[in-house]
């Protein structure tokens, strides 16, 4: 079946090239049948890539080690759950995932626009086909996921233990869905620029794709943070790692795009901004894909160096050059259709929003690429760490949250000062009350930035609550409906608006969790023997006993050896038990002994967390294997040629020795307030995006008097 998979890729590449050529020919000559043929080719591409992906997944699931990728990234003892995810843990597999998602997204948007945007769609098809052709060429020429081994091994190398986590199942596909999804509005933006049809039609056709991409990318980023928090053993969820940053940058610029297009839809303004923002978002999405695999920046995501870095850079350069040239050439067609009526208007604040989001992106970009820049200029690679990022991004994040509160209370075009005062009084009162309570009953004043963030969050939540209250009240006056029905109908008829408000609320809650957990956490690193205790964050922790087990690790990762600990935690009258583990995975390194390969291969922490709405108690253990080394070396010598069963007994004996006579183990304990609100806020954001993107019922219509006005009125009202 590897041959079939490879054939799918080559035919896919040729199909993508045909799709681009046919669409361009149809667009230039006006011969619609060629544009239709090009669109059909994209549908065929979707079929080919899905088939290729299915073939590769099947190979992983049946552990077919004749596939080089399977031998490199999986093993017979990898749990099935992780065999599925192993496909996109590799570079080749992730390229195939990208191509498959791109083909599916392209097919969906071209199907939905098959009867509209007749001038723009062929150019958009050509762009999407061009991007698909690039990724397929990478696979066909350099990184073929269907390469086979002449002499398949009996066993594969296994999946990297760090990747054996449920979040790993969906974190990469979500990120890639986000990256790929932004190619759709990008392609249609290019089509709009080429055809000089720079109105809002292309935006209306692709807005939901941008929203889906943004939502998936955001969810993917959060899942990565959750994976970091629960898997990496350092206790944090965001380290300003280059690859983390690379996913955040397109999300920030994509956020600006989603807001800014509203201004173009309503007022015909910010056209240059929107064209630039979507081009920037797509370029950053490509950059994010490139950084995960290139190895040019030190990162926890350095799962393997890349052989396709140069090709990616060339492609990104081409996209940047094309985008800049097109925007500059079409500047006259991108002139605004209206003027800014007032600085106190939603349009003005969206413009400010653009500036802050892009500014935030540029700060992060500078910090991320600083090692490369410094090396290029000075010859020494220097880097900036989390404190630098925190210092520069925190003020911008505060401004962003403030804007998230002010924006919704403003109307389009202009707001009078009296109206503004009227709509801001209640939310400001909520923020003021929050400030008083925080100062009186907490130590929030210890961190000025966190205190400000808490107050801004209260302001945003106050605004959202007020919007729902006033909107429902207004609807009740018009319809006489009861509160619950009025609220449901209000949000149902204005999904974009209220879905957006829900997203704002979710972001505010998320940042509340970030501010509280980053400024007020308590951490201790200790070495303990059984029976010893320590205090952290008001909790008293006692190391009760060590644990050891062979196979059947609690997290289901397939670790052959696990060493852990049981600790009792008390605070006041509360008591709970935590059981952190450290999993050890056998190494395939032939230089290691038969027994030591089980203790000197990859290892990762399975932390234990006591989750809570007010605070998390996070605990990780790192057993000390030093005292066992002599016995391990002796076992290597004595049992080198023994059967697997005998070696398993020896390993069991060593694990039991650790349990009975444990050396002091290293523990890290962290008490983090309000971390749970980060995940809760993220869930609210996703819910809000779903509401905002859900198709609305046809607009209710209302009567007016004149001929067309009457018709307009008849269509505006519904009996």
């Amino acid at each position: 079946m590897a041959g079939v998979g490879s054939a799918c890729l080559l035919v896919g590449l040729l199909t993508a090239i045909y799709a681009g050529g046919a669409s361009l020919y149809g667009a230039r000559t006006g011969r619609r049948e060629w544009a239709t043929s090009g669109r059909r080719a994209i549908y065929c591409l979707a079929g080919l890539t899905v088939s290729a992906f299915a073939i590769l997944e099947a190979a992983f699931l049946r552990s077919d080690f004749s596939f080089a990728l399977v031998a490199e990234g999986s093993s017979t003892d990898t749990p099935s759950f992780y065999k599925v995810t192993a496909v996109w843990a590799t570079q080749d597999g992730s390229l195939l995932l990208w191509s498959t998602l791109l083909a599916l997204f392209s097919s969906a948007v071209l199907f939905l626009t098959r009867r509209s945007l007749r001038d723009i769609a062929p150019y958009a098809t050509a762009v999407l086909a061009g991007v698909a052709a690039f990724f397929l060429l990478l696979m066909v020429a350099w990184e073929n996921p269907f390469d086979t081994l002449a002499a398949p091994p009996a066993e594969g190398a296994g999946l990297n233990p760090l990747l054996r986590h449920p979040a790993m199942m969906i974190h990469p596909p979500m990120l890639y869905t986000g990256y790929v999804g932004f190619s759709v509005p990008f392609a249609f933006a290019v089509g709009a620029l080429v055809t000089r049809q720079t109105g809002a039609d292309w935006i209306r056709a692709t807005r939901r794709f941008a929203l889906v991409a943004w939502t998936f990318l955001g969810a993917g980023i959060l899942l990565g943070a959750l994976w970091s928090y629960t898997e990496l053993g350092w206790g944090g969820y965001w380290a300003w790692d280059p690859v983390e940053n690379a996913s955040l940058m397109p999300w920030l610029v994509g956020t600006a795009f989603l807001h800014s297009i509203m201004v173009q839809e309503k007022r015909g303004m910010l056209k240059v901004w929107n064209a630039s923002l979507i081009c920037g978002t797509f370029v950053l999405a490509l950059l994010g894909t490139f950084l995960v695999r290139s190895g040019i920046l030190n990162s926890i995501h350095a799962f393997g160096a890349s052989t396709i870095g140069v090709q990616f850079l060339v492609f990104i350069g081409l996209v940047v050059a094309l985008s800049v040239a097109l925007i500059l050439a079409r500047l006259p067609d991108l002139r605004s259709e209206a003027r800014l009526d007032s600085l106190i208007s939603r349009e003005a604040f969206f413009l400010l929003n653009n500036l802050v989001l892009v500014g935030l992106c540029l700060v992060i970009m500078w910090g991320t690429f600083f090692p490369l820049i410094s090396e290029a200029i000075t010859g020494n690679e220097q880097s900036v760490g989390p404190p630098w990022f925190d210092r520069l991004t925190t003020p911008l994040a505060l401004v962003l949250v403030a804007l998230a509160g002010i924006g919704p209370v403003l109307a389009w075009r202009r707001v009078t000062w009296s109206s503004l005062r009227r709509v801001l009084v209640a939310p400001l009162a909520v923020a003021g009350a929050a400030l008083v309570l925080l100062l009186a009953f907490t130590d929030a004043a210890d961190s000025t930035s966190s205190l400000l963030m808490f107050c801004f969050v209260a302001f945003v939540l106050g605004v959202v609550g007020q919007e729902l209250w006033r909107g429902t009240s207004a609807r009740r006056v018009m319809t006489g409906e009861a509160w619950p029905r009025a609220l449901a109908r209000l949000t149902g008829r204005n999904r974009r608006r209220y879905g957006g408000y829900l997203v704002h609320a979710g972001i505010a809650v998320l940042l509340l969790g970030v501010a509280a957990s980053s400024a007020f956490l308590d951490q201790r690193d200790v070495r303990l023997s059984p029976g010893q205790s320590f205090d952290v964050g008001g909790y008293h922790v006692t190391y009760r006993e060590p644990k050891a087990q062979l196979g059947g690790d609690d997290a289901g990762t397939g670790a052959p050896v696990s060493l852990g600990a049981v600790l009792d935690v008390r605070k006041g009258g509360k008591h709970f038990t935590l059981r952190p583990w450290r999993n050890y995975y056998a190494s395939r390194d032939p230089s290691l002994g038969a027994i030591s390969r089980f203790f000197e291969g990859e290892a990762n922490s399975e932390v234990d967390v006591r989750w809570g709405l007010r605070r998390d108690f996070w605990l990780a253990v790192r057993p000390d294997l030093g005292p066992l080394q002599r016995q391990i070396r002796e076992a290597d010598t004595k049992f080198a040629s023994s059967s697997g069963d005998v070696q398993a007994l020896v390993i069991a004996a060593l694990a039991e020795r650790y349990r009975n006579d444990p050396p002091p183990a290293a523990f890290r304990a962290i008490v983090s307030p309000m971390v749970a609100w980060i995940w809760i806020g993220g869930a609210i954001v996703v819910l809000g995006a779903l509401v905002a993107g859900w198709p609305s019922p046809e607009a209710r219509l209302r009567r007016v008097r004149s001929l067309y006005s009457a018709r307009l009125g008849r269509e505006l009202s519904r009996a």
Partner: protein, 96 residues
Amino acid sequence: MEYALALVVLAALVALAVAGPLRRRGEEERVEEARLAELRAAKEAKYREINDAELDHRMGKLSREDWRAVDRELRGEAIEILRELDRLEGRSPEGG
């Protein structure tokens, strides 16, 4: 062998699929259909704007004078869209 066979079969299937529209060259696609779809989308968007403006006024964000001005402008734009729709659909302004 497997690779070559798959190559031929898949290429043939794709060729068959993409050649279909080229064989039906004689059928003219109605240009108006695409324009109608765009106008209908624009109409719905304009209706949403009209309702949004009214909601903003009822929630106190827009004064009565500002709302009336905005509403007048938006309804004028909506009427132009309806005119264009009627022209393409061959209908009278009453909607019949």
